[in-house]
Structures are given as structure tokens and as C-alpha cells.
């Protein structure tokens, strides 16, 4: 069943590359993917928790427990749901192309397949491999169909992520080497149990911790490895920006929760520089994301760059939740991964639609758009409010938990200080999001904006799916948290 979920986009993409089919196939594939994900979501047995729907082959490596194996638990289900929702929205925002539309559509589906594969892999190798597979279509699409400085952006993202992946690979191998020979395995389920048994001595944790945190950090655009993200997202075609910032980037965070927290919990408390621990270092980096990148975001004059930087900034909150090392913070972080993915995808969808209509996303050239495109305006407003953290949206629930996590009784004074500083980030994001909304949708309509036509037909449903799910998550956060809780408890044990 899980393999089917993975094969749907891959087979459709292959058919499109070979010249069969058209855009309807891509849409069908995305809907099928969503339907199957929902079926999994409701058939998942919450009472049993743990990995379910497992399928695995024989070992692929002589003498090593490395095999093609898939399975989902609560955390991967939430990520798969995010993937499926954003994929549906993304295929409805595929641009109209004269030529090579099939190449475009197939590559977008391949990116989605890469994310899907990474989230449902139960084997460390395939977890890594599927993510990196998505690099090739991303490179092609940004360079070929992007806007602005598209080729420079494509190079930057590819080399950054390529190097990040290699650092990550080194970290993964180092992590495995730190385990005793007899218990070395690539199986995530078995690794989870090993992690609970505290197999690695505290002193040996620090090196793999650094390799993994830097490797994942590059993929997540953790400060100071963040400079690739905003230009790439600004230049990328709309569906690529939606899928990459919304889904693929979450792979790194997912990996932090899956590997770093359960295996290397003691590394967080190891002093690395004077009295400062690794946790302090991570807090400093994430404050860079929230405060420094936050201020950079305020200074942006173009909508797409602003959204790109805001997405980098919000990674800081997710890291804050991870660094708290307690259930409240971690649950908040995981729910925020889901919520941020949906809100940033919606924002990119709207900004992409505006770019199709106007050509430029300079705040000076835009204004009063809510008169001509009210639907886009409402969606943007909802996603922007969600992104600021207004109550009623899933982002609010999760950010609250993140802050509670940072202020829990066990928190160090440095952690509390960092949390208080991070709270100011909410103000920063309110400033830039509201300013952007005002500059684009309110005020005097520009000459060209009066001629725009609003989003029509099924694309409305595809876009509305994202903010509506955010509302659902904001009203019933416990429903989503009930899926996450067993996995996260196991990770923290």
C-alpha cells in the first residue's frame, strides 16, 4: 500500500516524460495520492501506535541490515498528509506552457515523490536517498522555468543542498559507526529501540551531533547556512517553491526528530566552548534565524523574497521547539512543521498567481488588489495571519506549545532568555506580513490591477484546501497531536 503511494507520482512522471498523457494526469495523480494518504490516515490504528503498513524486502547489502522497507507512524503520517495536500495545491498552480509541459509536470511530481519516499521510508538509506533524488528535478525546473536570476539561484540551491547532503551522509555513517558492531542497522524502527536504550556514550555523541545538525541545518536553512533559500524560492516556478519550502525542507526537521533527538540527547548538554553547551550554540543559531533573518525580511521590497525569508525565519521556531527537549516543545515543533508547510505553500501560491498577472512583485508596483482578486486576497490574509500566529490557526497552537516548551521547569537560563527574545519574532512577523498585505491588497488600486481576473474554478478549491486545513488544525490541535504523541514520546525516552 505504501509502495503504491510512492509509485503513483513516479509512474505518472515516467509516463509524462515518455510523452503520454497531459496535465489532467498530473492532477489525477495528485488527487489519488491525497485519497490514498487519507485512507492511510483513517486506517492507521492509533491504539497500537508505532510503525504500521510495513513492507520490506530482503537485505540489499551482504551482511548489513539495509533493505527497501517502508512503514508509517504518527509523525510520518502527518508529514505525508502535508505532502499530499501541498502536492494537490501545487499541480493546480502549474503554469500554462507552450512547450515541454510534460517535462515540467513530471518533474513536479518527482519532487513530490522524493518527499513522499523520504517520509515513508523505514530504512535510513532510502530515507536519505529519496530526499536527494528530488534535487535533480528541482535544479532543472528552477533553471529552466524560473524567473529573475534563475540560473544563479538554481546553482546555489543545488550546490548548497548537495554539500549539505554529503555532510549529512557523513553524519549518518558516523552515527552508525558509534553504535556497537552487532547492533548496526539501517532500520529506523530498530534504531528507534536502540536510541531508547542509550547505546552511545555521552562523550561520543558530540561529533555525530555536529555533523548531523550541520547537514540537516543546511537543508533546513538554519542560520548561518540560510542564504540559498530566499533567492531560490523567489526564482522558482510557483509549484516548485510551494513543494520545496512547504514539504521538502521539512525533511531535515523530520530527520532531526527521527535521529538526532533519540540518539544524541546527551550531546545537547555537552560543553563545546567554555561553559556553552551544544544546545546554547543551537539556540544562538536559531535566534539568528528569528531575529536577524526576521529583520532582513522586514527590509524586503519584493513579495516573493519576503515570503522566502519569512520561511527561513520560521524555521527558527521549529528549532526552538526541538531544542527544548521536552514533549510540549517537540509536539509544538512537529505541528508547526505541518502548519508552516501549509501556510507557506499558500503564500507562494498567491504570490505566484500575482506574478502571472503583474510580472513584478515589487511592493511599489502593487496595491488595491483585493478589489479585483478578492479570493486571492482572502487566502493570502488567512495564510499570513496563520503565519504570524493568530489564534484559530494551527500555527498559533503550535507556537504556543513551542514557547511553553522553552519555558518549562527544566529549562536553563540561557534557554529562557532565548525564548523571550524569540517571542519578539512574533512582532517582527506581524510587521512584515501586515505591511505586505497592506501594500499588495489594500490602498489605491494600480492601473493594471483593475484588469486582473480572480482565481476561478477548481483552482479555488485546491488553494482553499491549505488555509482550511490550517483552521482545522487550529480548532482541533489535539486531533493532530494524538497522532504525533506516541512517536515523540518514544523519541524523547
Amino acid at each position: 500500500m505504501l509502495t503504491t503511494l510512492l509509485l503513483i507520482p513516479i509512474v505518472t512522471a515516467a509516463a509524462l516524460f515518455l510523452g503520454f498523457g497531459n496535465r489532467t494526469w498530473a492532477k489525477g495523480s495528485a488527487l489519488l495520492q491525497l485519497a490514498l494518504t487519507l485512507a492511510l490516515w483513517f486506517r492507521y490504528d492509533q491504539a497500537k501506535a508505532g510503525y504500521q503498513f510495513i513492507f520490506e524486502t530482503n537485505p540489499l547489502f551482504p551482511g548489513v541490515d539495509l533493505r527497501y522497507s517502508v512503514g508509517v507512524d504518527g509523525l510520518s503520517l502527518v508529514m505525508l498528509l502535508l505532502t499530499a495536500l501541498v502536492t494537490v495545491a501545487a499541480v493546480w498552480f502549474l503554469p500554462q506552457l507552450e512547450k515541454r509541459a510534460n517535462l515540467f509536470d513530471g518533474s513536479v511530481l518527482l519532487i513530490s515523490a522524493g518527499a513522499t519516499g523520504a517520509f515513508l521510508a523505514k530504512d535510513l538509506f532510502f530515507f536519505y536517498a529519496f530526499h536527494e533524488l528530488a534535487l535533480v528535478p528541482t535544479f532543472l525546473l528552477i533553471g529552466l522555468f524560473g524567473s529573475g536570476e534563475r540560473q544563479a539561484a538554481a546553482w546555489k540551491i543545488t550546490i548548497y543542498l548537495g554539500v549539505g547532503s554529503i555532510v549529512l551522509l557523513a553524519g549518518l555513517v558516523d552515527l552508525l559507526m558509534a553504535l556497537p558492531v552487532s547492533s548496526r542497522t539501517f532500520d529506523l524502527q530498530a534504531l528507534q529501540q536502540l536510541g531508547a536504550a542509550h547505546m552511545i556514550p555521552a562523550a561520543a555523541q558530540i561529533r555525530p551531533w555536529f555533523l548531523l545538525t550541520i547537514g540537516f541545518g543546511i537543508l533546513i536553512s538554519l542560520f548561518p547556512f540560510h542564504s540559498w533559500a530566499a533567492p531560490a524560492y523567489a526564482s522558482a516556478p510557483t509549484p516548485v517553491a510551494m513543494l520545496h519550502s512547504g514539504v521538502l525542507k521539512k525533511f531535515g526537521l523530520y530527520g532531526m526528530v527521527r535521529l538526532v533527538l533519540p540518539f544524541l540527547p546527551d550531546a545537547f548538554h555537552q560543553p563545546v566552548w567554555g561553559n556553552y553547551t551544544a544546545q546554547d550554540l543551537l539556540l544562538l543559531a536559531l535566534l539568528g534565524n528569528i531575529l536577524y533573518v526576521g529583520l532582513v525580511t522586514i527590509s524586503q521590497r519584493k513579495l516573493d523574497f519576503m515570503i522566502g525569508y519569512s520561511s527561513v525565519m520560521h524555521m527558527g521556531y521549529i528549532f526552538l521547539g526541538l531544542a527544548s527537549l521536552n514533549l510540549a516543545g517537540l509536539s509544538g515543533a512537529c505541528l508547526l512543521m505541518f502548519a508552516h508547510g501549509l501556510s507557506v505553500a499558500a503564500l507562494f501560491a498567491v504570490s505566484g498567481s500575482l506574478r502571472d498577472r503583474e510580472g513584478s512583485l515589487n511592493f511599489d508596483k502593487l496595491g488595491g488588489a483585493s478589489k479585483s482578486v478578492p479570493f486571492l486576497g482572502i487566502c493570502f490574509a488567512m495564510a499570513a495571519f496563520a503565519s504570524i500566529g493568530l489564534p484559530g490557526f494551527a500555527n498559533f497552537a503550535s507556537e504556543t506549545m513551542v514557547f511553553f516548551g522553552g519555558f518549562s521547569p527544566g529549562a536553563t537560563s540561557f534557554q529562557k532568555t532565548a525564548t523571550i527574545l524569540a517571542l519578539w519574532g512574533v512582532v517582527i512577523s506581524a510587521v512584515y506580513m501586515l505591511r505586505a498585505y497592506k501594500a499588495v491588497f489594500l490602498g489605491q488600486p494600480t492601473a493594471s490591477s483593475t484588469k486582473w481576473t480572480d482565481l476561478a474554478g477548481s483552482a479555488r478549491f485546491a488553494l482553499a484546501l491549505l488555509p482550511l486545513t490550517l483552521l482545522l488544525g487550529g480548532v482541533f490541535p489535539r486531533y493532530f497531536l494524538s497522532y504525533l504523541k506516541p512517536t515523540l514520546e518514544a523519541a524523547l525516552r
Partner: protein, 498 residues
């Protein structure tokens, strides 16, 4: 079941028969020869699965003690056979370009030996895979090298090809001199040429180590030329660029595989000498690091794809040497160094042949071998463009392609050996690799074509390219068939790592 030596005999016999047939036939169309050769090599490849592995017997009076037909050597023999088949397919595609570069009265005349000489190279490669004696190894190496001297300079009207031939001949002869001198020193020290006996004698040698180190360095220099290790790499770009493209592919795969196999075999006796082991590993790490940096960084500014592939082949030699430099680390997570090198070479063969197959077709149909000839290839031939994407991704080390497992195994070796300098060099050079390999992808998809004529691909080439693509994906997901063949037979080299 056949004895392993029957494979070499069959290949050699095939070569001689075809040579005779070529000289006595009146037909000016030589393509038939290549087809016969490909067909027969295919059969020999099939026969190789019905041979019983027979390790060498050491002892007085056993004639075959210089020849080991063990499982690992069989894997390398298969690699040699497949490479030769691939090269012959490429040579058929290249015929149109080659015919123009030959001083002959009519099209096709004089191309016969171009299809037959690779058979002798193949026999040399296969013999070298089995050589467990210094003299035998040297004779096999020379069979490979001498047939390459002819092949590199085959396009007689091309100045580049002649220049490449002369450069390759002079530097090749020089490196041969180093190897022979090294062998002489080993013989002088031990009085033996058989690897096992040399290892025994060396381990118990008393007195000064300088002589052993000197012998090692001589061999390292000689083989450094063959595998294109820095600082003995200067011939590579010119020779690769000047040689006919199928020969370049053969050089890059066959010559490298042979060099590394011999390297591993010759290294083994020296690893047993504990007093010089740290120095040996230090020198190896130094050479490996320099090769990694030079190959990968120098590949970045290249405009000719052939030169780019030449530098990239130096870079890949760097990864292989890195794995070898970590040989002292002992067993652990994955496999021994021998299996790592073996798998890497196998993956390298698949992706390099694929890249050169596309390059041959594109260069025959365009006016050069620059990267800009690939501009807009996705419009001229989506099939070839896709094949090139697969080859480049695999060379860059994207997961789910065969090349990734190779890099993965190498990195595992480095981390196992705690070689942090080499690890950081590896990370940097992989980043550089992403840049220069993806430049080709960018040219094919981002830019508009200079020529618009679509490229037609002959059925045989289409099948070969499709098979290579399928193999790259298959072994990128399931490397087990190759790895278990390399492992179950417990390669002596991997055993030396402990």
C-alpha cells in the same frame, strides 16, 4: 564447468581469428567484424557464469601458480568483457567520424583493426585480474598498454590523436620503467615474484626498511601514471582529448580498473611490513588528497566535455585512492577496501560508458566535443539527454544510482579510519562535482540548441544505452549481486585490511 583460463583463451582466439579474417577478406565494410566480436564476447560473458572459481595453487611443480581464477578475478573479468562490448558498440557509432581521419581510398577501409585491437586489451585486462605473480602481472599490463598505444593514435590524420599517441607512449614507457625497476628491487630483496611468497619474505625481512620503502615508491610512481594519480596525471587531459572517443572511454574505464586492481595486489605485501605501514599510508593519503582536489577543481572550468571527463576521471581516481589510503582501519560497518574499490570500479564503468556513448553520438552528429554542443540536446533527442542526466547524476553521486553506493562505501571507509582531513576534502570535492556534472545537465535543458537536426540513434546503441541506464538504477537500488560476488570469495586484499 570450464576452467577460468578458458575465458582468456577464447578472447585471444577470437582476436586472432578476426585479424586473419580481416586481412584475407575483400569486403571493405568492416562493421561485420565488430558485430561478430560483440556477439562472441556476449557468449564468453555468458560462459563466465559457468566457470568454476579455482584459486591459485602454490607449491613446487604447479605450473599455474601465477594464475588465480578466484571469484573476485571473475568479477573483474566480467567487468572487462562488458566494457569491451560497450566500447565496440561505441566504435560502431564512431565509424563515420573515424573514416574521415584515416588516410584511405574509400570509406570504412582501415577501420578493421579498430574493432579487433580492443579484444587484445580485453584479454590483457582479464589476465591481469588473475595475476598473482609480479611477472605475470607485468606482462598482462603491457598487453593492455601496448594495444592502447596503437588505439590512441589510430586516427592518423588527426594531429590531436597523433600527439596523444606520442604523449601516451613516452609517459607510458617511462612509467613502465618505474614499475620494472620496482619489481627488480622487490625481487632483489626477497628473491621471489609470487605475491604470497613476497609477502612472507617481506614480513620477515630484517635490517633497514629504506630498501622496501624505495621499492614501494617506485611501484607507486609507475602505477600512479596508470591510474592517473596526482602528481603523475599531466598526460591524462591531452591523451583523453586527442584519442578517438571510444578509445577514451576504454582508457578511462579499462586502464583505470587494471591499474587499481594491480595496485591493490602489489600493495598487499607491503602492508604486512609493520614498520613501514604508517609511512606507506601517509604517502597514500597525501597522493589521494592531492588527486581529489586537483581532479575535481580542475574539472570545473573545462569547456570540452572530453576534457571534463578526463579531469573527472582523475577525481574518481582520488576517491578510489582515498578508500585505499584507509586500508589500515580494520573491518566494521560495511565491507573491506577491496570490495569497495571493486564496486566503485563497476559503477564507474557503467556511468562512464553511458556518458561516452552519448558523447560519441552527439559529437559525430555535431561539430565538436564542447559542452556547448550539448546545448538544447533535450530538444534534439530527449532520449540521449535523459541518458546523460542519468550518467551525470550517477557520476555526481545522486542516490538511487549506482555511483552513489560507490561514494557511500568510500565515505564509510574514511569515517571508519577517522581520516577527518580526507573527509572534509571529500565533502568539498563532491560539492565541486555537483557543479561541473550539472553544468552538462544545465546545457542540455536550459539552453537552446545551436543545431536543430534531430539525432538518430542506431538500434544497437539504443539497446546498449537503455541497458546501461537500467543497470545504473538497478545497482543503485540493489548492489547485492556485485557486492556478494566480491565478498563471498573473501578477497585477499580485503583480508589484508585486518
Amino acid at each position: 564447468m570450464f576452467p577460468p583460463i578458458s575465458l582468456e583463451i577464447l578472447v585471444l582466439a577470437l582476436g586472432f581469428i578476426l585479424l586473419l579474417a580481416e586481412s584475407f577478406s575483400n569486403s571493405t565494410n568492416k562493421r561485420g567484424l565488430a558485430h561478430i566480436a560483440i556477439f562472441c564476447l556476449g557468449w564468453i560473458f555468458a560462459i563466465s557464469f559457468f566457470t568454476a572459481p579455482t584459486p591459485a595453487t602454490i607449491g613446487a611443480g604447479s605450473y599455474w601458480n601465477f594464475y588465480s581464477g578466484d571469484g573476485v578475478s571473475l568479477v573483474f573479468k566480467r567487468i572487462a568483457l562488458l566494457t569491451t562490448i560497450g566500447v565496440l558498440v561505441l566504435a560502431l557509432d564512431y565509424e563515420a567520424a573515424l573514416a574521415k581521419l584515416l588516410p584511405s581510398a574509400h570509406v570504412g577501409a582501415g577501420t578493421g583493426e579498430f574493432y579487433i585491437l580492443p579484444l587484445f586489451t580485453c584479454a590483457g585486462l582479464m589476465l591481469m585480474a588473475s595475476a598473482v605473480d609480479l611477472v605475470m602481472a607485468f606482462a598482462a599490463l603491457e598487453l593492455v598498454t601496448i594495444s592502447f598505444y596503437v588505439l590512441v593514435a589510430y586516427a592518423r590524420r588527426s594531429h590531436a590523436s597523433l600527439e596523444a599517441g606520442v604523449k601516451y607512449l613516452i609517459l607510458g614507457a617511462l612509467s613502465t620503467g618505474f614499475i620494472v625497476y620496482g619489481i627488480t628491487w622487490i625481487f632483489g630483496l626477497t628473491g621471489e615474484t609470487h605475491f604470497t611468497k613476497v609477502a612472507e619474505k617481506l614480513a620477515h625481512l630484517r635490517g633497514d626498511d629504506t630498501a622496501i620503502l624505495f621499492a614501494f615508491l617506485l611501484i607507486l610512481v609507475g602505477l600512479g601514471f596508470k591510474v592517473a594519480a596526482v602528481p603523475f596525471q599531466s598526460w591524462v587531459p591531452d591523451v583523453y582529448e586527442g584519442a578517438p572517443t571510444p578509445v577514451t572511454a576504454f582508457l578511462s574505464v579499462g586502464s583505470k580498473a587494471a591499474g587499481f586492481l594491480l595496485f591493490l595486489r602489489v600493495l598487499e605485501p607491503f602492508l604486512g611490513v609493520h614498520s613501514i605501514l604508517p609511512k606507506v599510508l601517509q604517502v597514500l593519503a597525501l597522493v589521494a588528497g592531492a588527486t581529489l582536489i586537483f581532479g575535481n577543481l580542475a574539472a570545473m572550468p573545462q569547456n570540452s566535455l572530453k576534457r571534463l571527463l578526463a579531469y573527472s576521471s582523475i577525481g574518481h581516481a582520488g576517491y578510489l585512492l582515498t578508500a585505499i589510503a584507509c586500508i589500515g582501519a580494520g573491518g566494521g560497518l560495511l565491507l573491506g577496501v577491496g570490495a569497495t574499490v571493486g564496486y566503485y570500479l563497476f559503477a564507474y564503468m557503467l556511468m562512464t560508458l553511458l556518458a561516452f556513448a552519448v558523447l560519441t553520438l552527439v559529437s559525430v552528429n555535431s561539430k565538436g566535443e564542447e559542452i556547448q554542443q550539448f546545448n538544447g540536446l533535450s530538444k534534439r533527442s530527449p532520449f540521449l539527454a535523459f541518458a546523460m542526466v542519468v550518467a551525470m547524476s550517477s557520476l555526481a553521486g545522486v542516490p538511487l544510482t549506482a555511483g552513489f553506493y560507490g561514494k557511500f562505501l568510500v565515505f564509510a571507509q574514511i569515517i571508519q579510519a577517522h581520516h577527518w582531513v580526507l573527509l572534509s576534502l571529500g565533502v568539498i570535492t563532491v560539492g565541486a562535482g555537483f557543479y561541473y556534472y550539472f553544468r552538462v545537465v544545465a546545457a542540455m535543458y536550459w539552453h537552446d540548441p545551436q543545431e536543430t537536426a534531430p539525432i538518430t540513434v542506431a538500434p544497437l546503441s539504443k539497446i546498449t544505452i537503455s541497458l546501461l541506464i537500467a543497470a545504473i538504477f538497478y545497482f543503485g537500488i540493489n548492489p547485492n549481486p556485485v557486492l556478494s560476488a566480491l565478498r563471498t570469495s573473501a578477497p585477499s586484499v580485503a583480508a589484508a585490511a585486518h
